[in-house]
Amino acid sequence: MADTVKLPEDSFKPITADDRAALDSEKIAAPSLTFTQDAWRRLKKNRGAWISLIILGIIFIMAFGSLFFSPHNPNAVNPSYANLPSKIPGVNINGFNGTLVQAGERVDAYKQAGASSLHYIMGTDYLGRDLFSRVLYGTRISLIIALVATLFDLTIGVTYGLFSGWKGGRVDTIMQRIIEIILSIPNLVVIVLLILILKPGMTSIIIAIALTSWVNMARLVRAQTLEIKEQEYVLAARTLGESSLKIAFKHLLPNLSSVIIINTMFTIPSAIFFEATLSYIGIGISSPQASLGTLLNDGQKNFQFLPYQMWWPALILCIIMLAFNLLGDGLRDAFDPRTKE
């Protein structure tokens, strides 16, 4: 048996207070983080979401920076340089070196047009406008439309949802019925009807998208409000006689913030998508203005012969959509305490 082993003499002295303190101090406590800090830390760990955030940042800076600095005037027509393919300095890959296949032979389109010294990194369109500048310009318009529309729908949706959830009862039932009716018509149909009434243009697109896409936000906020309303701390605030408005701003909104932020990340790409679809159909932005949708529409006409004219705007559109979706996913995971490792 083990008890026959000879042990040092002082082995059986009770441990001292110092020793005990040392034992206790070995425990490592996790640093306490606030909810936001914790979410931010987890977002940074999510590689997809983090890269998306950076890419979106770059796209924003370039799109809005082009207001002050643009390689070419996006609307400057130059028929002699029409339909030049992509030419990126220093890159000698077919498709990016200013050459294209004409009658079975690869020729330098820039030389033909007498523009050997010029570079259009995304090429030019059928009117000789610089595609890169137009894509930047179009991205800016698309982003503005999406952001403004989202801002509106955020305001409408959050207010509607908060009110409906907070009031409850009859008011809530009626407000939910209204939402159900709106949901029973496809969004795009409503948007088209609204644009027809308001006359096509940027403002009416923004209004139309804003007026239709708040429903989702309203439903989410309502559901969350119903839940939070029953929480003890809200009850406590009510018992203490705080006004509804104060409770809404002090207790409800902070707790709704994650739902709102996440949903916004999904509203923006859907607004961009609607704008692109409208412009693609032909009732969106009209020329000489451009958006990603109109650029796609223009590019698609010549896709068989000049595929780059559609590829570039399509690529940018998909990257923006992808980045917002990934960021939204990442934020959802970051805000959801269940995914905490």
């Binding site: 009807l193 790409p269 692109a276 679809t277 159909i281 032909g282």
Partner: protein
């Protein structure tokens, strides 16, 4: 259940009534008349045409007439094709749209289920990563971009499918693919999330403790529990397909209602736009009703109370 059904059908009718009313008066606000696109006509000719369309009557009378007509499926006469009633125009065009829409839905949901379930079963492996990539791409790439790419590469370059015609099944392949991508991605994502949740639940643990094989656990317990909630996203997916069809039908020159809608919008053919709006919301309402009832049938927890909530 019967009571619930009656209530739901009442709401459906009420919703359609409101949709008809709102569209009617919105259309009255619109600028332009059927004659905007016509050459100069004499006063008597205009009066005649107004009479033909019933535009000479007071608005409330027009509304009642329209409502009475709509109940019977009569949405007036198209402005664009002055000899065609809207109902005829639509009924001749709804077939292709339904075919492509249903095909896209079935393809998307079935493939989505398979991909999503595989992703959940092989969580955190390359299979799962592929699932995630496919679903995020499918959600991010607009259907019209995909449609153009499919048309060019599979249709024109490889010549596998006809490009922009309408005929037999082969003509529906590309549009179905273009429209089905988003439902596929959405359902794959949904099924994966649900199934990951289900697989970590206690009753799956119990099923394993019973000695069921891996496939037995998946087939008898995990699959059913993860697929039931999928019914709730069929409605939104239907909206997605309807929206997508407007552009996709245009790209592939399909004589469907989506293509007609765009055409009508561009030519200010208000009676047709109204008719289509009503048709679209009718279809959506029916889909939502069916999915709600279906959910009640397949989920025992809802069956008893008879209320989906």
């Amino acid at each position: 259940m019967a009571k619930y059904l009656a209530k739901r059908i009442f709401y459906l009718i009420l919703t359609l009534f409101i949709v008809i009313t709102v569209t009617f008066f919105l259309m009255k606000l619109l600028p332009g008349t059927p004659l905007t696109n016509q050459a100069k006509l004499s006063k008597s000719q205009i009066a005649l045409i107004y009479q033909q369309y019933g535009l000479d009557k007071p608005v409330w009378q027009q509304y009642l007439l329209y409502l009475a007509g709509a109940v019977k499926g009569n949405f007036g006469t198209s402005f664009q094709f002055s000899d065609q009633p809207v109902s005829y125009l639509l009924s001749s065009r709804i077939g292709p749209s339904l075919q492509i829409g249903l095909q896209a839905m079935i393809l998307g949901v079935i493939v989505g289920i398979i991909i999503g379930a595989l992703g959940a079963m092989r969580q955190n492996t390359w299979v799962d990563t592929t699932t995630t990539v496919v679903s995020i791409l499918g959600i991010s790439i607009p259907s019209f971009v995909l449609a153009v790419l499919l048309q060019y590469y599979l249709g024109l370059k490889l010549g596998w499918f006809p490009i922009a015609e309408w005929g037999g099944f082969i003509y529906t392949v590309l549009p179905t693919l273009a429209l089905g991508a988003t439902p596929l991605a959405e359902s794959a994502r949904f099924v994966r999330t649900e199934m990951v949740d289900v697989l970590s639940s206690d009753y799956i643990e119990l099923a394993k403790a019973k000695g069921l094989s891996r496939m037995g656990v998946i087939y008898h317990h995990a699959l059913r529990n993860s697929l039931i909630p999928l019914i709730t996203i069929v409605g939104p997916l239907a909206v997605n397909i309807m929206t997508g069809s407007m552009v996709v039908e245009n790209i592939f020159s399909i004589p469907g209602i989506g293509e007609q809608f765009v055409k009508s919008v561009l030519t200010n053919d208000y009676p047709t736009i109204m008719g289509l709006t009503i048709i679209y919301s009718f279809m959506l309402c029916v889909v939502l009703l069916i999915t709600d009832i279906l959910y009640g049938i397949v989920d025992p927890r809802i069956r008893i109370t008879g209320k989906a909530n």
